[in-house]
């Protein structure tokens, strides 16, 4: 099971390390010292109640938000670090290169509405990775086939269902040949009957050893895919534990209490 593969990968080096991450929005401290790390090939789920700051953590990792304090290191490259009182930020180029290796999949898909499905999946490859059109198209076909939407290549996003759009968004991320994919509630905006399709695409990725950090409320999904669970509360990671411990024992009261309250 996934729990075991998590253990045998436990030796691999961390590809993401966060220490003491702080973020303040308009005077409100939202993140108050987040510590989190992720190993290569690891699949971690980030859970917690709405407004706890889960999206903000992902957005800071991806540098869509600028952290106010703390350290973030990805793939051995520091993106920000503490120099005395001040937080130092890596040069824009470094940040961009890191983003290309850890694309994000958003709750609301955010496909480029003026481009076809095929163009959406080619875009980052051509513009950021400077692949040739032919190369990008070949890779895009491959990725679209993996999410089962090759036959929709020439459609525009608005012609697809939410579930299909999210699968295209996953293909768009996958096309970057990423080292890590960040998911922010990938199925929350979907009608219930479309959730399965997206989840099974993500599960396929896990079988291929893709590193993923997934924000989600779907506990059954967490159980089936995660190796590690991080529980976010009060602007911190209140508890982190291997998934087997959480679903298996009486330890980790706070996570279990949270799960019982929100998901019966």
């Amino acid at each position: 099971m996934t729990g075991q593969s998590g253990e045998h990968r436990a030796e691999s080096a961390p590809i993401l390390t966060i220490r003491g991450l702080h973020k303040v929005f308009r005077g409100n401290p939202i993140l108050k010292g987040v510590d989190l790390s992720l190993r290569e090939g690891e699949i971690a789920c980030l859970i917690g109640s709405s407004g706890a700051g889960k999206s903000t953590i992902l957005r800071c990792i991806n540098f869509l938000e600028r952290p106010d304090a703390g350290e973030i290191t990805v793939f051995g490259t520091p993106l920000c670090w503490q120099a005395g009182e001040c937080v130092q930020i890596a040069p824009e180029r470094t940040v961009q290169a890191a983003r290309a290796r850890m694309p994000m999949v958003f709750q609301h898909f955010n496909l480029f509405s003026h481009r076809t499905v095929m163009e959406n999946v080619m875009e980052g490859q051509v513009v950021v990775l400077r692949r040739s059109k032919a190369e990008a198209r070949a890779r895009a076909r491959d990725c679209l086939a993996r999410v089962g939407l090759l036959d929709r290549s020439d459609f525009y996003p608005r012609q697809l269902s939410g579930g299909q759009q999210q699968r295209v968004a996953i293909a768009r991320a996958l096309a970057m040949s990423p080292s890590l994919i960040l998911f922010d509630e990938p199925t929350s905006a979907l009608d219930p009957e479309l959730v399965q399709g997206v989840q099974s695409v993500i599960r396929d990725l896990s079988a291929e050893g893709m590193s993923m950090l997934i924000v989600t409320h779907e506990m059954r999904f967490v159980r089936s895919i995660a190796q590690t669970v991080h529980f976010c509360e009060g602007g911190r990671i209140a508890e982190s534990a291997p998934v087997s411990e959480i679903f298996g024992s009486d330890a980790h009261e706070r996570i279990r209490a949270f799960m019982e309250v929100t998901h019966g």
């Binding site: 869509l64 509405s113 875009e123 525009y156």
Partner: protein, 236 residues
């Protein structure tokens, strides 16, 4: 009695058309420059720094709150006093461009802000540079959204060009005045001028509509139905 059948005027038609050609030149050059300047001003007005924002806001406000004709007269007659001498044609271009840019900066700003911020973030999260995000995601969508409005502004501009006859640019209306001083046939000449303006505006509207259709992704072609002709919205 007036003679409504132009037996005097057609003789002067080539001269009027010469003027119309200058009107077209003025419009096209001012439109091109006005779009570039208007876009830069729009981006500048969204800049983080107040040092950039405030002066631009002020200039746009002044330009919008004074009549174009006064701006043209100032550029042509007053700027030489401080050592900036432009000939009539380029003074006209300068005035028209400045005026258009002020209005278009608002149009572009609204269009840029209307682009779905989620798509902007998606582009950023793929590792695109700020410039790439603009070039690949924001500008194509903002351009499409502002095209109908741009069309309205272009037609207004075409007609506004008649104002530069006041600073002695030899465009259509000024040529008409010259013809009239020669023939004393104001009625037929002005009818002719009106017809020429109408044809130019009408043709422009068709061309703009065509461009708009070409640029619209095929999934939305049927949904666009913006009447361009005689669109008063573009006018001040």
């Amino acid at each position: 009695m007036y003679n409504f059948f132009f037996h005097e005027v057609p003789e002067h038609l080539p001269f009027l058309l010469q003027g119309a050609l200058v009107t077209i030149e003025l419009s096209l050059i001012s439109m091109a420059l006005g779009m570039v300047l208007g876009f830069c001003v729009a981006v500048g007005r969204m800049a983080a720094s107040r040092l950039v924002r405030w002066p631009l806001d002020a200039v746009v406000e002044v330009v919008r709150d004074t009549p174009l004709i006064v701006q043209l007269l100032l550029i042509y007659f007053a700027l030489p006093e401080i050592g900036i001498v432009l000939n009539a044609f380029w003074a006209g271009i300068a005035g028209l461009t400045l005026n258009l840019a002020a209005y278009l900066s608002e149009v572009f700003r609204a269009a840029i802000l209307a682009v779905d911020s989620g798509q902007r973030q998606a582009a950023v999260s793929l590792g695109m540079s700020r410039i790439a995000v603009y070039r690949r995601v924001i500008i194509p969508q903002a351009a499409l959204a502002s095209l109908p409005t741009l069309g309205g502004y272009f037609i207004a501009l075409l007609k506004d060009c008649s104002l530069v006859s006041f600073i002695s640019v030899n465009e259509l209306l000024r040529h008409a005045t010259i013809v009239i001083s020669d023939t004393f046939d104001s009625m037929n000449t002005y009818i002719m001028v009106a017809i020429i303006y109408f044809i130019m505006s009408f043709a422009s509207a068709r061309v703009i509509r065509y461009i708009e259709l070409r640029l619209t992704p095929s999934d939305r072609r049927q949904t666009i139905s913006v009447p361009l002709t005689m669109d008063k919205e573009g006018a001040r």
